[in-house]
Subunit: 195 residues, 2 copies
Amino acid sequence: MAQTRAPRADAVRNRKKILDAAREQITLHGPDTGMDEIAAAAGVAVGTLYRHFPTKTDLVAAVVAEYITHVAEAAEGSRERLASGSRAVDEISDFLARVTEATATNHAVKAAARALGAEPVDRDAEARAAAALAALIQAGQADGDIHQDVTVDDIYLLFSTAPTDQPPAARARWLSLVLTGLTTHTRTAHEKPAS
Amino acid sequence: MAQTRAPRADAVRNRKKILDAAREQITLHGPDTGMDEIAAAAGVAVGTLYRHFPTKTDLVAAVVAEYITHVAEAAEGSRERLASGSRAVDEISDFLARVTEATATNHAVKAAARALGAEPVDRDAEARAAAALAALIQAGQADGDIHQDVTVDDIYLLFSTAPTDQPPAARARWLSLVLTGLTTHTRTAHEKPAS
DNA sequence: ATCCATCATGAACCCTGGTTCACGTTAATG
DNA sequence: CATTAACGTGAACCAGGGTTCATGATGGAT
C-alpha cells in the first residue's frame, strides 16, 4: 500500500537550501524578491523551486511556518527556564527581545506573506506558543510583577507591532518602553483621580 | 514675465479627486492597487493621473505628504489646547489615539510608499510636528506625568509601530498598554533591586 | 551494472500593471 | 466669438516577474 518511495537525498537537501535562501533573500532584498533571485541564491534553477513549492505563495508560507515554529520554541524554552528559578518577567522580557530580533529578520517575509494572502499555517505551533506564554504570564502575575489585566493577546498585539526595520538601539528602546507598560506598580497617572 | 496662466478649474478639481481616490482605494484594496482602479474610482482616465503625477511613486508620495501634514496639524492642535488648561498627558493620549486612527487608514499607503522607495517629503510638516510634540512632552514632564527620559523619538517609534490593521478594540488596548509605558510612577519592577 | 522514477534545468510563455502618445475637449484670454 | 494652451482620453506599448514544460541528469532499488 505504501507506494511512496523515500524522497531522494538531494531533494531533501535542496528543499532546505531553498527555504534558507528564500528567508535570506527576502530579508535582504525586500518582499518583492523574485523567484529567480531566490533560485540563484540557493544555487538551483527556477524549476526546482516549483517542484518543491507549487507557487511563490506556498514558498513564503513555508518560510512563515518555520518562523512560527521558532517562536513557539522560544516561548517553550522560556517557560522551561522558569523551573530553574528564573523570574517570569525576565523570561518574558527575554522572549520579547528574542522574538523582536527574529522578527526583524522576518519583517519582509511577513510583508510578502501579507501581499500574497498568507494563509492558515501550523495551528499547532501557534497553540503551543500561546500555552507557553500563558504560563509565563501567570507566573509573572503570581510574582506580582505583571499587571493582572495582561493577557496573551496583549503580548501578541505588542510583538506583532514590534519595530523590525529599526536599528538595534531603537528596538531596545522600544522593548524598554513596552515592558514598562506590562509591569506593575503603575496605573497611568492621568487616569488616577486627582489624588 | 508671468507667462503662467491660471490653472484650469477642472484640473484643480481632478487633482483633488485623484488624491482622494488614491488614498481610498489603496486603503481599501491594499498597496498593490493599480493605476487603473484609482483612475476609475476618481472618475478619470489613466492618462489624467499621469498628467498630474509623473509616476505612481509621485502619486503615493503626494498622499503620504497629505498624511504627514495631517499629523502635524493634529500635534499643533494638541499643543494649542494646552493653553486652555488641559493636561499634557491627556493631549498626548489624544494625539496618539487620533494618529493611530488616521494611520489605520493609511497603513496600506505607507506600505505602498515603502515598496516604491518613498522619498523625502515635506520636511517642513515633519519639523512642525516634532516641535509641537516636544512642547507637549515637556509640559507633561513638568506636570510630573511623563517619564523624564521620554523623547519625541519615543513617540515616533511607538506610533510608527501602531497596529493599523487591527479592530478598534485592539487598537484601544494597544494605546492603553503603550501609555502605561510612557507615564510615571513606575520603573519596571524587575529592574528594581529586590526591595 | 542496469533501469526507472524522481528530480533538476532553463529557455520560453504569458499576463499583469505601469507608462506613453496621438488625438479630441474645454476652459481661459482678448 | 475666436483662438489656443492646457487638459482629458484610452488604446497600445513594454518590462518585469511568476509559471510551465520538454529535455537531460541522477539517486536508489534490483
